[in-house]
């Protein structure tokens, strides 16, 4: 039992350190770079889930926090994207991106009372992380800065709309539905971690 756990830990650590080659999958909508970026967000579940979870969490924490996250997340993402595109370390960092959205999901499910600065810091770290991966995947695929702009605009839109709606939810059932959504995201992340460990072995 103990050895098993150790092996699992080693497996997880291996994925974290040894980055997988980025399979540059850039969707071409045919509508140009900006819309390709939006499409890229839509079909990259890890990115979409972290944005949804963070937006829901920011909304749970109230308008002040939501106002911060609405700017912190896209800006950090954009910065990360620039870094990733400039120094294209060819990597997808699946363990870290999975951990980030799973953690965000857990926070939503538990409706954790985190102070607004904490939420903002989490948003910045998650944004930087996913942004770097985005930049590193998009740039070799021949995407322009417009694609990154598309990704970031879509994130801004999604965060603003989702978090605003959550802040305005009436008490009772709807708030619980948000927590259930968070728990689903967390569960997906946990299963994904298992997959990653299995694939690494």
């Amino acid at each position: 039992m103990r050895r098993m756990r150790l092996r699992a830990l080693i497996a997880l650590a291996t994925i974290a350190v040894a980055p997988m080659p980025a399979h540059a999958h850039l969707v071409e909508t045919g509508f140009g770079g900006f819309y390709d970026g939006i499409a890229h967000l839509a079909i990259t579940p890890a990115d979409l889930l972290v944005v949804i979870a963070l937006a829901l969490f920011a909304g749970q924490r109230g308008t002040r926090t939501a106002r911060m996250v609405v700017f912190a997340l896209p800006l950090a993402w954009w910065l990360g994207g620039l870094i990733g595109a400039r120094w294209s370390v060819v990597t997808t960092l699946p363990l870290l991106t999975t951990l980030s959205f799973a953690l965000a999901g857990v926070l939503v499910a538990l409706n954790m009372r985190v102070r607004e600065i904490g939420v903002a810091i989490f948003a910045v770290i998650a944004g930087l992380l996913h942004g770097v991966v985005n930049g590193a995947t998009l740039a070799p695929g021949g995407a322009s800065g417009l694609a990154l702009a598309g990704v970031v605009s879509a994130i801004f839109f999604l965060t603003a709309v989702l978090s605003a709606e959550v802040t305005a939810l009436p008490a009772g059932w709807p708030g619980i539905a948000v927590r259930v959504a968070g728990s689903w995201i967390a569960a997906t992340g946990l299963l994904m971690l298992g997959w990653l460990a299995k694939m690494a072995r």
Binding site: M1, I43, I52, E165, V180, A186, L191, L193
Partner: protein, 203 residues
């Protein structure tokens, strides 16, 4: 544009936005393999009857227990089940899985039938243990390859929707007639569990 000051209906808008995202997640991908992964994930929890009845039983019991259990269970269950799935995927040995799943259906069904209302933490721990069994079984069965993330997402969503079915059925509990039906359903689930237990032990 200054559309008149109105608080509007956040629930409706939020629901609609999330619903719009779902099919995007599911089908926007041009590569058929990805969509197939999501659909396969959705289908998996429904494929085993023992799982289906246990998931519905969780919802039913939640409704019988009333608030706050009615929402603690559906929030906690997916995460615990995913934890079990994680253990299954890592290959950590857990004995008696088939028996555990059958027992979970028996116990949960019996709870609904006899209308047992233990303290919340007891119910939560009980359901959490069962959740780990179910998740573990799924974790072992999950096919390799394909898009793991979309598969997992589909899997979790299908499980959650089964809870929802249970909770909605359990809402009938408010009426005298409905209460009888809910208890009968609990009895049926317990019997199904007995059948699976017999099969797990004999076969």
């Amino acid at each position: 544009m200054n559309v008149k000051k109105q608080r509007g209906r956040p629930c409706a808008v939020l629901g609609a936005t999330l619903l719009m995202l779902l099919p995007v997640l599911a089908s926007a991908h041009q590569e058929a393999g990805q969509t197939a992964g999501f659909v396969a994930g959705l289908a998996h929890p429904v494929s085993g009857f023992d799982h289906v009845v246990a998931m519905i039983a969780v919802g039913l019991w939640g409704a019988v227990l009333g608030p706050p259990a009615i929402w603690v269970l559906p929030v906690a269950f997916p995460m615990m089940m995913a934890f079990g799935g994680l253990m299954g995927l890592l290959g950590i040995p857990v004995p008696g899985i088939e028996i555990g799943i059958a027992v979970s259906a028996i116990v949960l069904g019996a709870m609904v039938l006899v209308q047992v209302r233990p303290p919340l933490w007891v119910a939560a721990v009980l359901v959490a243990i069962f959740a780990i069994f179910h998740g573990y079984a799924h974790g072992r069965e999950l096919p390799a390859g394909g898009n793991a993330l979309l598969y997992s997402l589909g899997f979790v969503i299908a499980t959650g929707l089964l809870h929802l079915v249970g909770i909605l059925l359990g809402e009938a509990h408010r009426w005298a007639m409905g209460r009888r039906i809910v208890r009968a359903a609990g009895g049926g689930i317990a019997l199904t569990g007995l059948f699976f237990l017999w099969r797990a032990v004999v076969a």
